[in-house]
Symmetry: C2
């Protein structure tokens, strides 16, 4: 079974290594070993554990080689990886990829193309690193009617939030520490902005809800604005703050959103610490299922790629592709953002004088928002300022946004600080 | 696709119901619907949601009907289920079963027979109820070198232990409550003795370690002897008590054991409460993976059966069975029981007089057991008795057993209470 790698970075090298180690077992399972014919790299002279003999910088040596039946894409990024995958499929090659961005944005199109060309496209490694989540949802939960997904899909942001809480430190200092330890990229934008989680929840919800969810349609808010003050308020109220990727279905309408979320401290997802990921499915007949594990890293990713490689090799050897489409059962529609419903935590400073809380409460009441609790914990006597924290009952996002814009116009408002959504 | 059920009890009826509801989706996925031809029951006149027309009490109407391609066994128990499954496979029928006992005891033989006859045998529903654990370990973790499995596989015992801790109640009163609520069987022997967990860990470790583990070779201790006093000592020391099913591999030697186990309160498995199950895999390259969910119940079991039914139907329609053997990679040997190593919690009453602790410590020292901590918490002045709790460092089981038999012979021993193994 001749295969080619697109990419020879950390993941490519980890995969190279595990294939060398496991090739005798692969032979026993498949009836033949894997033979890595070529590895596409940008820079031929960079030091790698892959011998130079295998390296090439010419994509056609893999994409147009009729001997190579299976292409493994581990370059990352949208281009040129997307064009390469497309060309491989057009040339009737099976493809395995770890690329969440490409599957989230182009997955539907590529799966249809693969079906047309009679080949498979595997993407187990695109979400959840070493957690076998794609197989679980595609096959294990195949006829489930999943109602909700609650997930922690980005290790970097979970590491930052966990460490802010444990070490009582601000975002920027923990981010710097995470970069020094290699848990955050030099450019951490995709992680901390929630974009990485958006790609991953787009893939999971396309699978769970049998439809095509585009990343651009998913509401996204990053963790940049989370302060230690909010984390400590949350803690004192019995909550943890996590960057949750949420998907909920109700009467065929979907809400999918990625944002910092307060969840009860005794919720199982609160116990997910550091760079780990976890995915909770709620299904009426099956109950609550959780999968937990390391969300990233070259070795876990290589193991996920390997399970796909084995499965697709089996399909190739038996000329028996197992087609898969996102939208194979029924389509669902995304709710307009204003129609989502949840609880909210609001924090802001106002002038400390009589009647202020009444003005706030009036605005909330006029927008059909009922207050679950109010904390006025600290007053700054010198500046005559007071800090107010409000927890609401369930309400519509459109109501809260309208109320906040009205509160922000009040002359008594000194500083607006935080809005954090709460799920219980 | 004509199928037959062996069994029309709670699980059979839940499966009947879900197939009726999902048959249009099944048609879309498979290209044809499932057609349940016959359901074997003992008592034809018992009220059921399955119409009488489908019921039969003659096994041959399913096992010898050439039109039925797939047989679903949901009777439970070893016989006659085992003979029926064997006959179905001999008649070249694909089989799906929820029967942990049969897979644990006869799985290896039945998988070999299935391969010989060119059919598949599915057993997703045999372990972990609604958790897609068999697929995860067979396919998702296919080339993993699993080093350890830590698992909670029995909902009844986990419910009892959780409730003893939460409600500060003794075993017998919680067992009675569990029976009243339907969380424990009228005859709870297989659950509380650990036998149910033994069947399940036999299956998981046969898959994980690519070998055939027989239930009779697994060390087993039930939860009958766990007292509230031990649970409260454990709590004060920072531990929870769980009925763990453990499997560990070291240099090709296996230890597999089911017994009440003290685990740290901040361990993720400590958070598994009530009737839930969880399975933790430790693998060097992949890291720690946990799957969590409801461990039993007719509906979760029906969903697990359904995923197998869909997969095997696909194989039947494409004349393409995917054979599976336990021992497909390399064999491993079980360690003798005395060779396992762990930490221990010991509790007993002695006469309260000088030099008593020295006698105990001498015995432990002579058996190469080093003490991690000693608590002498309560003294009964009237009876001149003292209660001693000892936590040991890691030692061999054979050493601890020898030491205990010597301690039990000491004239100063008043009452021997507890030995609980500790894993951290």
């Amino acid at each position: 079974m001749k295969i080619g790698f697109l990419g020879g970075g950390q993941v490519g090298q980890a995969l190279w290594e595990v294939i060398q180690k496991e090739n005798e077992n692969i032979l026993n399972l498949l009836g033949e070993p894997l033979e890595i014919k070529k590895v596409l790299v940008r820079n031929l002279s960079k030091p790698r554990i892959i011998p130079n003999y295998y390296l090439t910088n010419k994509p056609e040596e893999i994409l147009d080689d009729y001997e190579i039946k299976l292409v493994i894409e581990v370059m990352g990024g949208e281009e040129p990886a997307y064009s390469f995958i497309k060309r491989a499929i057009e040339n009737k090659k099976y493809v395995v990829t770890a690329n969440k961005e490409i599957i989230a944005i182009h997955g539907d199109e590529l799966l249809k193309l693969a079906r047309k060309k009679g080949v498979d496209l595997g993407f187990e490694a695109s979400v959840g690193g070493g957690i076998p989540i794609i197989k679980a949802i595609k096959e294990g939960l195949v006829l489930d009617k999943i109602k909700e997904i609650w997930s922690i899909l980005n290790g970097t942001t979970n590491y930052i939030l966990t460490n802010m809480e444990e070490n009582k430190a601000e975002f920027s200092s923990i981010l710097q520490e995470a970069q020094e330890k290699g848990y955050a990229e030099p450019d951490p934008y995709k992680d901390i902005s929630g974009l990485d989680s958006v790609y991953k929840i787009a893939i999971l919800s396309s699978l769970a809800f049998h439809t095509t969810i585009k990343p651009k349609d998913i509401f996204r808010e990053g963790i940049e604005k989370i302060t230690l003050r909010d984390i400590e308020y949350a803690k004192s109220l019995g909550y943890s703050i996590k960057l949750l990727a949420l998907a909920k279905e109700e009467n065929g309408a979907l809400e999918i959103r990625v944002h910092p979320t307060m969840i009860p401290q005794n919720h199982l997802l609160s116990a997910v610490r550091g760079v780990n990921n976890a995915i909770l499915f709620k299904e009426e007949r099956r109950g609550n299922i959780i999968l937990y594990g390391p969300g990233a890293g070259p070795k876990p990713t290589a193991m996920a790629l390997l399970s796909d490689i084995l499965e697709l090799s089996y399909s190739i050897l038996h000329s028996h592709p197992r087609y898969y489409n996102f939208a194979y059962l029924y389509p669902s529609d995304l709710k307009p953002w204003g129609e989502i419903k949840t609880r909210y935590y609001l924090r802001f400073w106002v002038q400390d004088r009589p009647g202020v809380l009444a003005q706030i409460a009036k605005i909330l009441g006029e927008n059909n928002i009922s207050i679950a609790s109010v904390i006025q914990k600290e007053t700054n006597i010198e500046n005559e300022k007071a800090e107010i924290v409000i927890l609401t009952h369930i309400t519509y996002e459109k109501n809260i946004q309208k109320a906040i814009s009205e509160i922000q116009k009040l002359p008594i408002l000194v500083e607006w600080n935080s809005l954090i959504r709460i799920e219980v």
